[in-house]
């Protein structure tokens, strides 16, 4: 730092340490729960210090949930979502910030509204769409009489089908649809000074070159933050994969399996509360996102990015 401010430094450290402790407390408790056996973990009061069963529980969780292939699947899906998301959000935000057409705000709001109806609410009809992703178009063709027309004209009956159940596409595409990324990029793009755009235009650069050579490099920290968030978000997906993946052996995701390990309280009678195994599984499931976060840290660092425009 520039000047010497010992008191403020101490205060800073204190604040950060407290914040860290508070935030990590639940993680600690989960860790402790994973290190005990069945009876200890169900006893009261809650254990604060770890036991010695960690390795046993981890092994049990790994085999019970068949985590190997699932980790791979979840990784594939998450990377797919990250790549898809940062690309699509960037170009969409680009399209609504740097062009002056009347539909800009309308498009932005159209995209933004998708944040406001949670998936749980629309899951049943969304499943129907995933079962046949071309259904909306088929329906439109039917309603406008096009299907009939095409059939009359060429004898070909149009029957569009694209079944996304039990597939990576079905897992990835709906998750790319959210508005967070576009909104984030919009905020950032709005801070780009006009002079930069003018300069590019004077250099004869078209919009796409501007996007690729100027905007994207400038957006590096945002991309890093967004990529981190999206990776974790899709890694932790539960409800949607539970629904559309019935071929668990091949396409199952880790957090769905985690849900399977956590005892369900609804069954009149309930199963054995294997919290120690469930928490061991949770710890394992947590590791890749944390690794990703650690890895992506570097891109948040000042100095790597030349932002002096």
């Amino acid at each position: 730092m520039i000047e010497r401010t010992p008191i403020l430094n101490v205060a800073t450290h204190l604040i950060l340490i407290t914040g860290l402790a508070l935030l990590l407390l639940p993680v600690w408790i989960a860790y402790v729960a994973a290190t005990h056996d069945l009876q200890t973990v169900n006893s009261a009061p809650v254990e604060i210090w770890p036991g010695d069963q960690l390795w046993i529980n981890v092994q049990a969780a790994w085999t019970q949930a068949d985590f190997g292939p699932k980790f791979v699947n979840t990784f594939i899906v998450s990377v797919g979502v990250v790549v898809g998301k940062i690309t699509i959000a960037a170009i969409t935000a680009f399209g609504i910030v740097f062009f002056n057409h009347r539909l800009r705000m309308a498009i932005f709001w159209l995209i933004f509204i998708t944040l406001m109806l949670p998936l749980e609410v629309r899951i049943v009809p969304t499943y129907a769409v995933a079962a046949n992703a071309l259904m909306p178009f088929q329906t439109i063709l039917d309603w406008t009489g096009m299907t009939w027309l095409i059939e009359r004209a060429s004898g070909v009956r149009v029957d569009l089908q694209w079944n996304m159940l039990n597939s990576y596409t079905g897992l990835i595409l709906p998750l790319i649809a959210t508005a967070t990324g576009t909104f984030l990029y919009r905020q950032f793009f709005l801070t780009i000074p006009d002079e930069l755009v003018e300069a590019a235009k004077m250099d004869g650069a078209g919009p796409l070159r501007f996007l690729w050579q100027v905007l994207i490099p400038l957006s590096r920290t945002n991309i890093a933050a967004l990529a981190t968030i999206m990776f974790v978000y899709s890694w932790n997906q539960y409800l949607w994969p539970l629904l559309i993946i019935t071929d668990r052996a091949n396409y199952g995701l880790v957090v769905v399996e985690l849900g399977n390990l956590v005892p369900d309280a609804m069954t009149t009678g309930g199963g054995v509360p294997n919290w120690h195994i469930a928490m061991a599984a949770t710890l394992m499931v947590m590791i890749p996102p944390i690794l990703v976060v650690i890895f992506m840290q570097r891109w948040f660092v000042r100095g790597l990015i030349n932002t002096d425009k």
């Binding site: 006893s43 049943v124 129907a128 079962a131 159940l165 990576y168 539970l242 009678g269 294997n274």
Partner: protein
């Protein structure tokens, strides 16, 4: 590893081998999760190993509601399984939609012999038509009992676990006097406090024989002995003879019992297995039928748990496969497998008898579960003790829970709470009736 990017195919459900398969594959979506889910998977594996004509693919859905809800979503897209495990309160909609293949009829259609009278009436009636024909296959059935700490009761001078509520109340006082701070770990539960309570006392929960006779039912539980019972519970809590212990408050009733903190808790017999596994050394515990008030004749309790429904819209081979699986489950070996790996009780008389003959219930860890059978078969079911067939029942249950919670928190009297619950519940019933206007339960 194969990365399938797109699947351009018609109705590609898993396991549907288009070409040549000698094996017909069909799906079964179940709701049990965790340990119990693993045992269900085992039953599927055992079925697949026992024959080669059919292959069942069992998919766990992490909970009853998710199982039914996901099945509905799949059904609307024509991607549904052949069999779904649906819990008691979730069946009204399915019944009225008619989108199922009644199992009794299915078995008859495929010439599979099943002795339907073999099923305990307290179980089969819940899932049967007014004519007695079974719609769904009973599977994991349980009934409530109460668990008590033998040592604590003995120390309080109680020789026999009470079978009347009056005796129960006295026992609570005695236990408290003997130094136990928490005689009764109480967790509000419609299933136990309202439904099974009413069954055992042969009093109605709703009109129309608890909904069996028509859709224009109305709730009645704010006018029956149930009110008195809830008021008693409230006074026990106020006087310290009972403590509220729920999972959300951190230590559930069962855990409080297992830790030796509380002397009594009520739960399904299916918890028998769990308690056995997590109880520490030295905890001496037993189960007993739920009490009834003096002046009421004890009647049978009814089943909880879930049953297996066969859905419409599938091919004949799949139905044959489903029939084969269901009849596999009905064999004594399967029942023994299920009863020994979980806390659930057998659903047929012969299955139960076979276990008795084997001495299954003579010793720990299974001893005591026959109490549940006794409770289930105490009398033949009457009109009021067949079960409950009301629409929107899950929401009604949650109205009860919320109102009772408000009363226990001191916000209103119990009578007011139950009145409000009935009022709001009737709105739900009316809405249900309007949704299915013109239909009746089959």
């Amino acid at each position: 590893m194969n990365i399938k990017i797109t699947t351009l195919a018609l109705l590609a459900t898993t396991g549907m081998a288009g070409a040549a398969a000698a094996q017909t594959s069909f799906e079964y979506w179940y709701g049990l999760s965790g340990d119990l889910g693993n045992v269900v998977q085992e039953t599927c594996n055992r079925f697949n190993a026992s024959q080669s004509e059919y292959e069942i693919v069992c998919v766990g859905q992490d909970g009853y509601e998710a199982a039914v809800q996901n099945t509905i979503a799949a059904f609307r897209a024509n991607q549904h399984p052949t069999i779904v495990q649906s819990f008691d309160a979730g069946t009204a909609d399915l019944m009225l939609s008619g989108e199922f293949y009644p199992v009794q009829q299915m078995m008859a259609d495929y010439d599979i012999e099943i002795d339907w009278s073999n099923y305990f009436p307290g179980i089969s009636n819940y899932y049967a038509a007014a004519t007695g024909e079974l719609f769904s296959m009973p599977f994991n059935s349980s009934t409530p009992v109460y668990y008590y700490n033998e040592d604590m009761l003995a120390a309080a001078g109680i020789e026999e676990a009470p079978l009347t509520w009056e005796g129960f109340a006295e026992a609570l006082v005695a236990i408290k006097d003997s130094g136990v701070d928490c005689p009764y770990a109480y967790a509000p539960s419609t299933w136990i406090d309202l439904e099974q309570f009413s069954m055992a006392h042969n009093i109605p929960v709703a009109s129309n024989d608890n909904g069996y006779a028509g859709l224009d039912s109305e709730l009645l539980f704010n006018t029956t002995q149930h009110v008195q019972h809830m008021e008693n519970i409230q006074s026990w809590i106020n006087d310290g003879y009972a403590h509220i212990r729920t999972a959300q408050s951190g230590l559930s009733a069962r855990d409080s019992f297992v830790q030796g903190e509380c002397a009594i808790f009520f739960s399904s017999i299916a918890d028998h297995n769990t308690v056995g596994k997590i109880a520490p050394e030295g905890l001496n515990w037993e189960v007993q039928m739920i009490p009834v008030y003096e002046g009421f004749e004890r009647h049978n309790t009814v089943v909880g748990g879930a049953s297996l429904w066969v859905l419409s819209g599938k091919t004949e081979e799949e139905y044959r496969g489903a029939a084969a699986y269901l009849s596999f489950l009905a064999t004594p070996e399967s029942e023994e497998f299920w009863a020994s790996n979980t806390g659930y009780i057998p659903v047929t008389q012969t299955g139960y008898d076979a276990l008795i003959d084997k001495g299954f219930y003579d010793a720990a860890p299974y001893a005591g579960r026959e109490i549940a059978i006794r409770s289930l078969t105490y009398t033949a079911p009457t009109n009021l003790t067949r079960g409950i067939r009301l629409g929107g029942f899950i929401q009604i249950r949650s109205e009860w829970t919320n109102e009772v919670g408000a009363a226990l928190a001191g916000q209103k009297t119990m009578q007011e709470a139950l009145d409000t619950a009935v009022e709001r519940g009737n709105v739900i019933l009316d809405r249900f009736a309007r949704t299915y206007a013109g239909k009746t339960f089959p």
